[in-house]
């Protein structure tokens, strides 16, 4: 069902844990849907110098979190904001159709962390980051669960 890359990131996730000196923290998903991703970023001079994640969810939720942290680490926040779920899927060599929403969550989790960083800087994140599509488990939920 999963590619080797997915399994490798699942068994040996990169950047797993918390970041005590994070200056941006984003969380998306909810327990009802069965996945929650929390991203911690440390931004210095506009660059994400460190990133960690914690995820409750299936194999692909953990793998997409792991690879997404790799893909933004050392990059500017502007670059991080261009990270798309498609790029995450490609980097993992593909995901089963019903698991694509995990890559959406990973993209949104990065954006949520950046948005939190801006908020802490006293900057309104919405014009820069856009709306964070987070799943609240009800009808208005933007994730794949309710589509």
């Amino acid at each position: 069902m999963y590619t080797e890359q997915v399994m490798e990131h699942f068994y040996n996730p990169h950047n797993m844990g918390e970041l005590s000196d994070a200056n941006g923290i984003g969380e998306v998903g909810n327990p009802k849907c069965g996945d929650i991703m929390r991203m911690y970023i440390k931004v210095e001079d506009g660059v994400i110098v460190d990133v960690k994640f914690k995820t409750f969810g299936c194999g692909s939720a953990i793998a997409t979190s792991s690879i997404a942290t790799d893909m933004v680490k050392g990059h500017t926040i502007e670059e991080a904001l261009t990270l798309s779920n498609k790029a995450v899927v490609e980097a993992l060599g593909g995901l089963p159709a019903h698991k694509i929403h995990c890559s959406v969550l990973a993209e949104q989790a990065i954006k949520a962390a950046v948005a939190d960083y801006y908020t802490r800087q006293g900057i309104d994140p919405t014009p820069i980051v856009g709306e964070i599509k987070t799943c609240d488990g009800n009808e208005s939920c933007a994730c794949e669960h309710n589509k």
């Binding site: 399994m7 068994y11 009802k32 914690k54 409750f56 194999g59 953990i62 019903h98 669960h145």
Partner: protein
């Protein structure tokens, strides 16, 4: 040391050597069509008849009441759709079932609902048992069928089939039971247990895949589902799957003969796992412990998600499931666990282990040697676990 453990016998079982040997002649030299007149056909016919007898004996039926199908799903579809068509002629359009049936039953019923039938889904209690009184209360003037499973495929709970059957008999309503998980594991007597229709599947009791049977009590009016030739007493068309039914016959005979020792062996492994896994904080067993299949373990571990648990177990050589293999393509938590009242977030973290022939206590011990660490590892990654622990602190 890493060990290979197959602990998903509710999904399917390994075909036994004697079963395979019994099938081989019909896959090779004795390939005749059981409906042909010449001698090779007659041999196949005799083999099919013998298998029918073996299956009838296993459930206290007569051979004439056993109809071979392609498996459990077809048997369920036939019993339900066939009865629905027949009852419609009498102006009846109401069917009673439970909330936690297998999808072969639930999805068949929702298809009938789209055709105008009405279905009552009776609740199951928090232990995963249907109350026969609830079935009786649901009966209406126009009720034409009750279908309640014998043993649940996820949590292994055994239903009061005899009592439900008695309610149906009292009201003159045919009673079907999906006994796919029960056959070979619990003693079944269709007369004593008031069963009119019963579905079974060979690969659940060490027989081959692709073959099952429907027991139809003599006189039960059920329309044909698969139309065509006159096989199966003119009620189910299709060339006899000779090798399959021969294997099924041998498998059911073996399963019934070894039932007691298997149950004893299974129960030891099951109870060992449950007793020890319950020591893991925030864990729970799902389903009644008394009325339960001997080989079924179903537990939830808070703060983790079932699929990641299964992948980690697989990495350690353990083949298990989080519920039904039939629902693994779905993102929703188990409808069975929701039906016994578990919240979504807890139902997501379920694990089903199902033991059968070939499992030993060494398997159970090996599972317990890796399970706590896997759960700890996944919880260390889980923000949900963090919030559970945070809430605990706030309460104290």
């Amino acid at each position: 040391m890493k060990r290979f453990v197959y602990a998903d016998n509710s999904a399917t079982t390994k075909i036994s050597k004697t079963v395979l040997d019994s099938m081989m002649p019909y896959l090779t030299d004795e390939f005749g069509n059981a409906s042909s007149l010449y001698s090779m056909g007659n041999k196949a016919r005799a083999a099919v008849d013998a298998a029918r007898e073996q299956i009838a004996n296993a459930i206290g039926a007569s051979a004439r009441e056993i109809y071979f199908t392609s498996g459990g799903s077809e048997a369920d579809n036939w019993a339900i759709k066939g009865t629905a068509k027949a009852m419609l002629k009498k102006g009846k359009k109401h069917i009673i079932t439970s909330k936690f049936e297998h999808h072969a039953v639930l999805h068949t019923l929702s298809a009938l609902e789209r055709d105008g039938f009405e279905v009552t889904y009776v609740d199951v209690n928090e232990n995963g048992i249907v109350n026969p009184c609830d079935v009786e209360k649901a009966i209406r003037e126009d009720t034409g069928l009750v279908t309640i499973m014998y043993a649940n495929n996820e949590i292994g709970t055994i239903q009061p089939v005899k009592e439900i059957g008695a309610v149906c008999r009292k009201h003159g309503i045919p009673f079907h039971t999906d006994a796919v998980q029960a056959v070979g594991n619990v003693p079944i007597d269709v007369d004593e247990q008031n069963i009119d229709m019963l579905s079974m599947s060979a690969h659940k009791f060490h027989g081959p895949k692709g073959v099952g049977a429907l027991y139809l009590r003599r006189g039960t009016v059920v329309h044909t589902l698969i139309n065509g030739g006159a096989q199966e007493f003119g009620r189910r068309a299709g060339t006899e799957n000779t090798a399959g039914v021969v294997g099924m016959g041998v498998a059911i005979e073996e399963a019934v003969k070894t039932m007691e020792s298997r149950n004893e062996n299974n129960r030891k492994m099951r109870d060992y796992i449950i007793e020890n896994a319950l020591k893991i904080e925030r864990s729970r067993v799902n389903g009644d412990m008394e009325h339960r299949l001997s080989g079924n373990v179903n537990m939830c571990f808070e703060g983790i998600e079932g699929e990641s648990l299964l992948l980690m177990l697989d990495y350690n050589g353990i083949q298990a499931s989080s519920g039904s293999a039939c629902t693994s393509g779905s993102l929703d938590p188990s409808h069975v666990l929701l039906s016994i009242g578990l919240p979504h977030e807890i139902a997501h973290g379920s694990l089903r282990l199902s033991f059968g022939d070939g499992n030993t206590m060494e398997d159970a011990e090996y599972i317990m040697s890796v399970l706590p660490d896997i759960i700890a590892r996944l919880r260390a990654m889980s923000p949900l676990w963090d919030s559970i622990k945070e809430n605990e602190k706030n309460v104290h």
